[in-house]
Amino acid sequence: MILVLPIILPLLFMVVLIFTRRWLAFQQGFSIFASIMLTFVSFLILTDVQQNGILAIQPGSWDAPFGITLVADLFSAIMMITTSFVAVIIMIYSPGFIDKERQTAGYYPLVFGLLMGVNGAFITGDLFNMYVWYEVMLTSSFVLIALGGSAEQLRGSIKYVTINFVASIFFVSAIGILYGQVGTLNMADLAAKMRTWDEPMYVNSALMLFFIAFSIKSALVPFFFWLPASYHTPPMAITALFAGTLTKVGVYTLFRFYSLFVVFDQQFWMYFILTLAGLTMFIGVLMAASQFDIRKILSFHIISQVGYMVMGLGIFTVGGIAGAIYFTVHNMLSKTNTFLAGGLVYQRSGSYDLKYLGGLYKAKPFLALLFFIPALSLAGIPPLPGFFGKFFLIKGGFEAQQYFITAVAILTGLFTLFSMVKIWNEAYWKKEPEEVKEKGKVHPSALLATSLLAAAVILMGIFAGPVIDVCLQAGEQIVNPEMYINAVLKR
């Protein structure tokens, strides 16, 4: 029954935190403890799945195609563990970054609401249930992004709420159409029935609706404009949490659905996804290179990096998927880390605008190092995990003889380096400009959180071998959906 914990625990934590809203110190401490506990539970699930294969339980005691199933394979366990770890870091970072009003206005309970939705989406085996978890996650994120209610935030939130609502509508109409045709909502049962289905038309139209819904949520070309228009508005800790978790849930779902449901016209889907992946990578990084606000550069980067993950999906070999999973984990860590380092820059210099920044390398070399590590990792410099992620993806691309997309991936890597160097040169290396904003002090807890995350990024690079082994096993499970189907339907 361990599979229920990733959903039940955040709910309990949320209830506790709602009732202790006024005691700030307790909230801060408890949130750190609670998110560490979540990480531990996810770790237990990971080891369990590694030993016993895919876990599936029926919480309502109805057997598989009828009741709601919870399933954890290695991919979902890996995603859960990374999400919870990112949450730990954000929880350490927040007390030193987010102002008191926001912290007491329900910031901590909302984060656990978000985690409950994310974990639910990772382990549910039921289509409609997944929609519900998406809504749980999104509702928490709606409030988080609007929390505080400055004019800029409200602008961002209206766009964010609208686009996510529209995406959910696509999602739920696809569920309706699919249910009307195939007559089941259990994902494994659906996948099994589709494999003997003889009417591809309705299935394909539903799949296209799914694809649109999740490409909006994970910000693929051409549906990415909402992300840089809204992600930069809330305080950096919240942006970092969104960057590390939310878009990746969309990516996770794309992987899951592609593996289970794409049985017709596989050739078409492969080229379709690879084309969009290439465009996403390239356009995202080009737009990042043209920005002057740290938050905007990093937001456009999220888009570009999602392109890499989806490229692994398009290749759809064990190597490609494993590379994509490794890359996703690395990205959740490094991306959050760059955002947090950007937040430190803001605390020190009072601005995110590159025009007002400078001289940080001379003044605060340790801050510079904290940005340097994840930035180089994102760009793909060898001892860091970004290199291994890209290496496995590109290797997978060559092995699958997808030369064009692989070339685009390599080229994009170059541009990524360029835009990271841009932040580096402007904020850290150039002389401090005459006209500066008010300077502040970096809060020790924010500094500690960022350092911990940077250390985690380095460790993931050093222990790339064991991590990629787990990713390879996860890739195996994704490429052979029969394993998932059999585990759920007990065949």
Binding site: F128, V132, E135, T139, F142, V143, A146, G149, S150, A151, E152, L154, R155, S157, I158, K159, V161, T162, F165, V166, S168, I169, V172, S173, I175, G176, I177, Y179, G180, Q181, L185, A229
Partner: protein
């Protein structure tokens, strides 16, 4: 009946898209409401229309004969509740935005970016 409902769904989607593309933010919210209703109707129609049959039977040998499928309704019910919540939140958001900026125009929304 099927044709009628299909046309209704189409009209609702059309109205929703029209409203979503207006500059007034309040009309945007109306668009979201329409979009939600259009989708609920779509699920209802896609689930198959069966009239005059009960959803639950007791004491019948083969229970699947003569039953209508209650699941689409259950799905719609959930979707309505979620839609209601999101709409309420969006309305609050728009009201707050109006109070802060004294406008409901989208052109003002994209200012300073």
């Amino acid at each position: 009946m099927l044709l009628l409902l299909a046309i209704l769904v189409g009209v609702l989607y059309g109205a929703a898209v029209y409203l979503l593309l207006r500059r007034n933010i309040f009309k945007l919210i109306l668009g979201l409401i329409f979009l939600g209703h259009a989708t609920n109707m779509l699920i209802f129609v896609a689930g198959g229309l069966t009239s005059g049959r009960p959803a639950f039977l007791r004491g019948v040998q083969d229970e699947t004969i003569g039953m209508s499928d209650p699941l689409p309704q259950a799905l719609i019910l959930t979707a309505i509740v979620i839609g209601l919540g999101v709409t309420a939140f969006a309305l609050t958001l728009v009201y707050r935005f109006y109070k802060v900026t004294k406008t409901v125009d989208f052109d003002e929304l994209s200012e300073n970016e």
